[in-house]
């Protein structure tokens, strides 16, 4: 008897639990679209957030239930977009791979510091003190806030400024969001010309702090055959919809603020 009672009680407890859970899972069943799981599997699970959703699972859910586009995944690129389109049964044009680019060339040998920064070693913290430790108020501070958010290890600090390894970069744009000076731009990988400066100061001021800074001289604007370059706020801006990668602007730029990477070999992952 002293064995039977505990056995009976526990058997009753177990059966009660089992029955309760089974009934509950039937009564409160939530229908899950199996396409969500399939899409989540097709995504690279980098959870980078470049698609604009809070992770791969959330993006998969948004594709099925909220009608999000199939080609928003940057790390997954063409392959993921095709797979997702297959699952959803729609046609898709894959997005071209993108890379991030640091629009600053004021490294240690070109742009001096105005004070020694000894606080928390982050760009955001440094930027709070008198617009950063560099003489150029819009220059790369080199404390690596972008490195901290990069999941691919594509960014390194070389001679005081951030340099992005194009072969590793997957164009998620997290670094662009992390940079307190907004120096990092994400553009399509086929675009070969970019501006290595973000200064909006007048030419005289820019010139005094960095020999590589854009002084807004408008030579590029005058020489561009397709009218893609315009100077706005003392700073050259390239309209990539018009740019033909001719490299003319880079040729005429006297301060080498506009640079063409046409000659460089770009390896795509």
């Amino acid at each position: 008897m002293e064995y039977l009672i505990p056995l009976a009680i526990f058997a009753a407890l177990g059966i009660l639990a089992g029955v309760l859970l089974t009934v509950a899972s039937k009564v409160f069943a939530v229908e899950v679209d199996e396409r969500v799981d399939a899409i989540a599997e097709a995504l690279p699970q980098a959870n980078c957030g470049a698609c604009g959703f809070s992770g791969c699972a959330d993006y998969a859910d948004a594709i099925v239930n909220k009608g999000a586009e199939c080609n928003l995944c940057r790390p997954g690129g063409e392959a993921a977009a095709k797979k997702i389109a297959e699952i959803m049964g729609v046609e898709v044009t894959a997005a071209e791979p993108q890379v991030a680019f640091v629009r600053c060339s004021g490294d240690c040998s070109h742009t001096p510091h105005k004070y020694d920064f000894d606080g928390i070693q982050s760009c955001a913290a440094c930027n709070r003190f008198y617009d950063g430790s560099k003489l150029c108020t819009s220059g790369c501070l080199g404390y690596g806030d972008c490195i901290k958010v990069c999941s691919q290890g594509a960014i390194s600090i070389v001679d005081g400024i951030a340099v992005i390894d194009k072969a590793k970069c997957m164009g998620c744009g997290l670094c662009a969001k992390a940079c307190p000076n907004g120096l990092i731009a994400v553009r399509r990988i086929s675009q070969a010309v970019d501006i290595c400066c973000s200064s909006r100061d007048v030419g005289r001021v820019t010139r005094s702090v960095c020999p590589n800074g854009c002084i807004g001289c408008k030579l590029c604007e005058k020489n561009c055959p397709s009218g893609a370059v315009t100077v706005q706020n003392n700073h050259a801006v390239i309209d990539y919809d018009k740019c033909t990668n001719c490299g003319k602007c880079a040729e005429v730029c006297r301060v080498h603020a506009i640079r063409s990477i046409m000659g460089e070999k770009v390896e795509v992952q």
Partner: protein, 189 residues
Amino acid sequence: MSYILILIGCVFVNNVVLSQFMGICPFLGVSKQMKSSVGMGAAVIFVMICATAITYPVYRLLEHFGIEYLKTVAFILVIAMFVQLVEIVMKKMMPPLYKALGVYLPLITTNCAVLGVTIGNIDNGYNFLQSLTNALGTGLAFTLALLLFSGVRARIENCDFPETFKGVPATLIAASIVSLSFMGFSGII
């Protein structure tokens, strides 16, 4: 008066994490961000109170048949079943709450802190209301420890540690110092 004493005792003097060293695993695992530690804390408070409410009658049942020695097994069974049930119901009825607590609920199903509270209630001979107060206090204590420590960890992130101490070692050292600070409360009740 005894209820207030139980609450203060739980939160400060016998802090479940920092003095009794229960629930260390979520304490180290979920304290990386303030936001997730609040979610975890809320889930723990909820589960502890419910677990106490449900294990109290179960213990009375076991007591009636004179098999109190089986309370650990019975409690684990009942708590696990109950948390599962809550999860299923919540997924259907309250999706926002499920999303907020969802990840943490199954994590604490068989957490030692939850079991510790329910067994502690029995060992201390609390009545039903006192047990509920104890559960609430312990849940609050867990949340407090988690919140404090997530703040400490945020500071650690910005520190320039030697390479060998980065990550887990620095976290464990910080945890021991936080625990040490709670020794200051010992003996005030």
